[in-house]
């Protein structure tokens, strides 16, 4: 397989603090790739750099060979890399369907003149069909007319992913998708992710809890204190001495 | 030329004095309550009319009139806190609109009580402190400068050295944490509002004999105060004072050497540039906005 998404010598400094230090790894097309590490390892910073939320201090992010580092979030999104947010970041005042419709912004780019005259009927129909498809995929279609802010926590997380999915992404970046979910919801969510993978979507997810994603990821990159630590399949990572040390050491520090 | 520069400098110091009295009050209110008091210019106007009524019409001694005016405007501030800002404390835009409503009421009361024409007050003193033949500072202006120095020093002492001041600063920085520490938000809001209003009132009262008092005089005052608090950084008292001085000098010099409208354009442009370059103001780290 080709180098689909590659992070090369990525570095981020906040003032004197180096949050991410010359990190490199590759994500293969069509895989589920986990980025793990103890608290403060720089996972979320890395994630924010890939999605365009931060501009890296040094290094490159290559998507199909094109350097996308330093692009704005919407420019990264338009190249097919769409992120979700930690917590339940949604358009709480809008309905579930409207949330998903915002997700179709890229495939069905609104045109103001067509909208005034009424020549965008097909686009609107297409956008709504896609939005409903995305909701259906995440089992939210029956809630389409509800206010997003009124949904249960689990449904809000699912809607966050549906919004991302509605835009036909090549890569979905998931920021701690299992936080606050009970085991049943987690299991259900993992099933959905596998189906996304079958659709040909590449998933890069950031997770603090190592156990949660062991059964899900094809490849796992582990980082610690901003640096690359280890990479490999789940079994490999689980038994990697440096990873065990990082997690236990981290736990000891926390305790 | 040197004399003209010196005289303009003195004028600028006078302008800086009353501007900073108004701006510091505005910052204090914004800091503690998070609300933009659009009626602040009308509080200044109310102070001026207090002097018109007491000193010019009823012949009360000038400084007694000023003191009563200051207390009266402070009470107006308490009224605003009680009637408007406390009920609307979770609705900043509502607080702004309510203060605009209050502004209209005060203006209207001034028109009904005193008429729309400008009031000219008999001068308190004609004395001038002469430095040279051409450079002098009218004593009436000196009063304003002295008042600014005294009241701002007192405020500084109050904020840094007393328990109330500590509570005030704490609730300006983080109202929730302050509440957890047992600081009464209502109490601090009342104090801030009283002080903020009273400072605007005393500025208006002292400048009343020097300007033409009219019901719409608050407008230019509030515009100036906005410029100053933006340049100084919303929420920073020291910034507001420094910005008052800077603005007063720029404005006075441009007015003297070119014209007043151009001075206004320059002042507003400076503010816009500061907003563009550093949206939190030159001295500010405003996290309330």
């Amino acid at each position: 397989m080709t180098d689909f998404l590659e992070v090369r010598n990525l570095t981020m400094r906040f003032g004197g603090l180096t949050a991410v230090d010359s990190l490199s790894f590759k994500v293969e097309h069509g895989s589920i790739h986990g980025l793990i590490g103890p608290n403060g390892a720089g996972k979320t910073t890395t994630f924010n750099m890939i999605s365009g939320f931060y501009t890296p201090t040094e290094g490159q992010i290559l998507l199909r060979g094109e350097d996308i580092s330093g692009l704005k979030m919407h420019e990264v999104a338009r190249r097919g890399v769409v992120r979700t947010f930690q917590h339940s970041t949604l358009f709480a005042e809008l309905t579930v369907l409207e949330n998903a419709l915002v997700g179709t912004h890229m495939p069905f780019r609104p045109n103001i003149f067509a909208a005034i005259i009424g020549w965008d009927k097909e686009d609107r129909r297409g956008a709504e069909a896609r939005a409903r498809e995305a909701l259906d995929f995440f089992g939210l279609l029956h809630l389409a007319e509800e206010r997003a802010g009124d949904l249960s926590h689990g449904h809000q997380r699912a809607l966050g992913m549906a919004v991302a999915y509605a835009s036909h992404p090549d890569v979905i970046l998931l920021d701690e998708p299992f936080t606050g979910m009970n085991p049943e919801e987690t299991k259900h969510m993992m099933g959905l992710m596998r189906r996304l993978k079958e659709d040909g979507i590449t998933i890069l997810l950031v997770e603090h809890d190592m156990q949660a994603i062991m059964g899900l990821c094809d490849t796992i990159t582990c980082m610690s204190f901003g640096k690359f630590l280890a990479e490999g399949g789940p079994t490999e990572i689980r038994n990697h001495p440096a990873v065990i040390e990082a997690y236990l050491g981290g736990a000891r520090h926390v305790a | 030329m040197v004399e003209l520069l010196a005289q303009t400098g003195l004028n600028a110091v006078y302008a800086a004095s009353y501007i900073s009295l108004v701006a510091v009050g505005l910052v204090l209110i914004f800091g503690v309550m998070g609300v933009v008091n659009f009626a602040h210019g009308e509080l200044f106007m109310a102070g001026a009319y207090a002097v018109v009524a007491l000193y010019a019409d009823m012949h009360v001694p000038f400084f007694v009139a000023v003191a009563i005016g200051m207390a009266f405007v402070g009470l107006l501030g308490l009224l605003m806190e009680w009637a408007l800002f406390r009920p609307l404390k979770d609705n900043p835009l509502g607080g702004l609109v309510a203060s605009i409503g209050f502004l209209m009421i005060l203006q209207s009361l001034a028109v009904m009580g005193f008429g729309v024409r400008m009031e000219h007050i008999p001068p308190v003193t004609q004395e001038v402190v002469r430095f040279t033949d051409k450079v002098g500072l009218p004593v009436a202006r000196l009063y304003v400068i002295v008042a600014a120095v005294v009241f701002l020093t007192a405020l500084w002492y109050f904020l840094k050295r007393t328990r109330f001041g500590w509570a005030l600063r704490a609730s300006a920085q983080d109202p929730e944490a302050a509440a957890l520490q047992g600081i009464s938000i209502t109490q601090t809001a009342r104090i801030a509002m009283f002080i903020g209003a009273a400072l605007a009132g005393v500025a208006g009262a002292l400048t009343a004999p020097l300007v033409s008092v009219n019901p719409h005089m608050g407008h230019s005052v509030i515009v100036t105060a906005f410029i100053v608090i933006i340049v100084g950084g919303v929420g920073s008292l020291e910034g507001a004072i420094l910005a008052s001085v800077a603005y007063a000098f720029v404005h006075t010099f441009v007015t003297t050497f070119w014209d007043g409208v151009l001075a206004d354009i320059v002042g507003l442009s400076l503010m816009l540039i500061v907003l563009i370059v550093k949206p939190t103001g030159l001295f500010g780290s405003a996290d309330r906005a």
């Binding site: 979030m73 919407h74 970041t89 949604l90 | 933009v36 409503g101 906005f226 354009i265």
Partner: protein, 325 residues
């Protein structure tokens, strides 16, 4: 069918409206119609979450531009009105570069400063803006006839019809925009700009778009006013007028399309007609201010929340009826 009936009745009512009014009330009606466009365009701007204090000055830009186009270039009045709106929109695009570096409170103050600078430029430069006195003797709208009705623009009734048609057409366009995917994107930018951006929305572009559209229609409203009054000057677009626009929007409520319109109509009728009739000329600002305070204290969601309560109560017992209409 029901909609058609409402449409016909509404049109008849709007056409008949000026005949029950005195001359001065007819003049107020013309301004009311223009102000409805002004406040509705303002609301479009607030959809993206930014509140401007420069909207009335932008309206003035349209007024000045249209006045100058007819005076200096001899452009036919209706064309220059549209060009006035276009000028205001283009200026908004220019202003968006400095202003959209700011958000929230800072944008509010920044837009105020930008507006004041424009006003001071009008004051300072007598060529071509006429200084403090502004421009007078602006060409009126030329009279014309549409067969059944002879437009005579010295009559406020004629101008009411003319402005009314333009305003209704503009409101229709604004309504279409809001109900379109573009409008949805404006809402998205307001409620969660980060998530909108992650969905590929160019925030700057959409904020600028809303600002430009709102400014364009405000400019058109200004042009309508300029060619009716015949003069423009810097003080007719000062912060006090902006305060009125702000209070119409807030007292009416900005959650719905009709909220600001409702606020504009109710407060104008109250201020210009009821209080004037009661002979409370001097106390007008006082009562107006008190009403503003009371409505913000006791009706924080605006007049529209009252309407919503009434309509909801009516439709609540029969939800299936609501679905059918």
């Amino acid at each position: 069918m029901r909609n058609l009936l409402i449409f016909v009745l509404g049109s008849v009512a709007l056409i008949a409206l000026p005949y029950g009014l005195s001359f001065s009330q007819q003049e107020i009606l013309v301004f009311l119609v223009i102000n409805i466009l002004l406040v509705t365009s303002y609301r479009l701007m607030t959809l993206t979450g930014e509140w401007s204090l420069g909207h009335v000055v932008i309206m003035g830009v349209g007024a000045y531009a249209s006045a100058l186009y007819t005076k200096e270039l001899g452009i036919y009045v209706p064309v220059s009105m549209i060009l006035g709106g276009v000028t205001a929109a283009l200026l908004a695009v220019l202003l968006s570069f400095p202003l959209f570096r700011m958000k929230g409170f800072y944008f509010l103050i920044g837009s105020f400063a930008a507006g004041e600078i424009i006003r001071l430029i009008w004051k300072r430069f007598r060529e071509p803006f006429g200084g403090v006195r502004g421009i007078s003797g602006i060409d009126p709208m030329p009279d014309f006839s549409i067969g059944i009705y002879q437009f005579d623009f010295f009559e406020p009734v004629s101008y009411y019809y003319f402005a009314g048609v333009i305003v209704i057409a503009s409101l229709w366009v604004l309504w279409r925009i809001e109900k379109s995917p573009v409008g949805l994107t404006f809402h998205a930018v307001h409620w969660q700009d980060k998530l909108a951006q992650a969905s590929g929305v160019n925030l700057r572009a959409y904020r600028t778009l809303a600002f430009a559209i709102a400014s364009g229609f405000a400019g058109l409203a200004g042009a309508l006013q300029a060619h009716y009054v015949g003069t423009v000057n810097p003080n007719s677009f000062d912060i006090e007028v902006m305060v009125f626009v702000l209070t119409w929007a807030i007292v009416g409520g900005t959650a719905t399309f009709y909220g600001p319109i409702l606020g504009c109509i109710v407060l104008t009728v109250l201020n210009e007609i009821v209080l004037r009739e009661m002979g409370l000329e001097q106390a007008r600002p006082l009562i107006y201010g008190a009403i503003m305070i009371l409505s913000i204290l006791f009706l924080p969601d605006g007049l529209e929340s009252l309407v919503q309560k009434v309509t909801r109560r009516r439709s609540a017992p029969k939800p299936e009826e609501k679905a059918a209409t």
